[in-house]
């Protein structure tokens, strides 16, 4: 089994899911990644951008950015 590169974040594909499903999936998945690492969420619901940012603020995790459309990087901070 090949481990992902340090620079390649794990990916959670939520494309096609309506909000709040991407945020629910993110909340369930983030505890599985190590503190300090980035989880990449793919989501194309129109509310995803707003709600993923709001979730990070409410839960105290770091919203790293949107490197591409429908692509959101979140760093687990605790």
């Amino acid at each position: 089994m090949k481990l992902p590169d340090a620079g390649t974040p794990q990916v959670l594909d939520c494309r096609g899911q309506r909000c709040p499903l991407p945020v629910i999936a993110l909340a369930k998945r983030l505890p599985d990644v190590a503190v300090g690492t980035v989880l990449r969420v793919l989501a194309d619901d129109p509310a995803a951008d707003n709600d993923i940012r709001a979730w990070c603020r409410m839960r105290g995790h770091e919203f790293v950015g949107t490197p591409a459309p429908h692509t959101y990087d979140i760093r687990r901070t605790h």
Partner: protein, 377 residues
């Protein structure tokens, strides 16, 4: 639980008893065409003039500055379209806050809209507003008196001063404030909706101050009606005016009664529902409206679950809108848009209804979260 806990006054308020009484009288005595010259017509004309006079008095304007439209949306459309047409020579830019009602945004989309941001509490950024209205080509500026979705009052006086300095007329959408809270002076055009102050549905009000460069988007009638696509029925106008006068007379008392209920909702929801965000300014807000968002909850499912328990509320969540887009107001504030609930109270709302809602809400939210396998933090 009875189905009487209606908490969507911001959309439509139950008819005020004064409106019902006035409408019955106007149906008896105001059915004739007020433009004619016989005695039945004169009675109708007197009723219409009295209605206009009552609205003018409540709003502190001249009678000939007030006109009635088919509803609040048409009044908002006429305000924007007439304001843009009257200042065509200046340019085609409409400056507006990011949290205007969609009726204002839709009318503005025909022009060159410039959106001014709000902060996380939903309050206009005054510096950005000042810069935007001073830019070239601005024909009109539009600011909602207080947010219809989160209740935050807007700095209308400050915005009006900036507009006056720039020589740009200000249009205020006062739909959520009329009959409930005072609107600061300084605006040139104002609109409202009777069903939000306890009047009947199907009556909007448009006020254009004297000297405003406003040009009716409709063929001008000889009877002085402005911005009018056809007058609403006289009995409805008379009822709307009676309701506004009654609501304005009760406004302080109702604000003093409802404000603590809103405060109770804000505090109790935050304390009893985990992972909830109560949004809007906690202090400088409308007295009757409160909004919160519950993490991991589908807004439409939440509305249906509350409806089954007899509570009628509204939501700005995307899954509750035809477009599947989240509320532009919640987006502009950068707050959670899913699981969103707006509770808006009125003169028939009781403390018992609010307490019942607060007692049942935590279970409703917990059940919905359990269904999707998220039990909390």
């Amino acid at each position: 639980m009875s189905s009487s806990a209606y908490f969507d006054a911001a959309a439509a308020t139950p008819l005020h008893p004064a409106a019902r009484q006035a409408m019955a009288a106007a149906l008896d005595d105001g059915w004739a065409d007020p433009g004619k010259l016989y005695s039945q017509a004169r009675r109708a004309r007197q009723l219409l003039d009295a209605a206009r006079g009552a609205v003018a008095e409540v709003l502190g304007v001249r009678e000939d500055e007030v006109s009635f439209t088919g509803n609040g949306t048409t009044a908002a459309h006429a305000a924007v379209r007439g304001g843009m047409a009257g200042r065509r020579h200046a340019g085609d830019v409409l400056v507006h806050s990011a949290i205007e009602h969609s009726a204002v945004l839709h009318a503005g989309a025909r022009h060159t809209p410039v959106s001014v941001p709000v902060d996380r509490s939903g309050r206009l950024d005054p510096d950005a507003w000042h810069a935007a209205v001073r830019a070239p080509q601005v024909a009109l500026a539009a600011l909602i008196s207080a947010s219809h979705e989160v209740g935050t009052r807007q700095p209308v006086g400050e915005a009006a001063a900036a507009c006056a300095q720039a020589g740009v007329p200000l249009y205020v959408d006062a739909a959520q404030s009329l009959g409930r809270a005072l609107v600061p002076a300084g605006w040139s055009v104002l609109s409202g909706s009777a069903r939000k102050w306890g009047g009947p549905p199907g009556v909007g009000v448009l006020v254009v101050r004297k000297g405003t460069a406003w040009q009716s988007p409709y063929p001008t009638a000889a009877d002085g009606e402005r911005g009018n696509e056809g007058s609403p029925g006289l009995p409805a106008v008379v009822a709307a005016a009676a309701a506004l006068r009654a609501a304005a007379a009760e406004a302080d008392r109702e604000a003093a009664r409802l404000s603590p209920l809103v405060e109770r909702i804000r505090a109790t929801v935050a304390a009893t529902v985990p992972d909830v965000e109560v949004v809007g300014d906690p202090v400088d807000r409308l007295p009757h409206l409160v909004t919160f968002s519950c993490l991991y909850v589908d807004g439409e499912a939440l509305l249906h679950a509350l409806d089954r328990r007899g509570f009628a509320v509204s939501s700005g969540s995307s899954c509750t809108s035809a477009t599947l887009r989240p509320s532009h107001v919640l987006e502009a504030m950068g707050v959670l848009s899913h699981g969103n609930v707006r509770v808006s109270l009125h003169r028939e709302t009781t403390a018992e209804q609010v307490d019942q809602f607060l007692a049942e809400l935590p279970d409703v939210v917990a059940q919905l979260r359990a269904e999707v396998g998220v039990a909390g933090p």
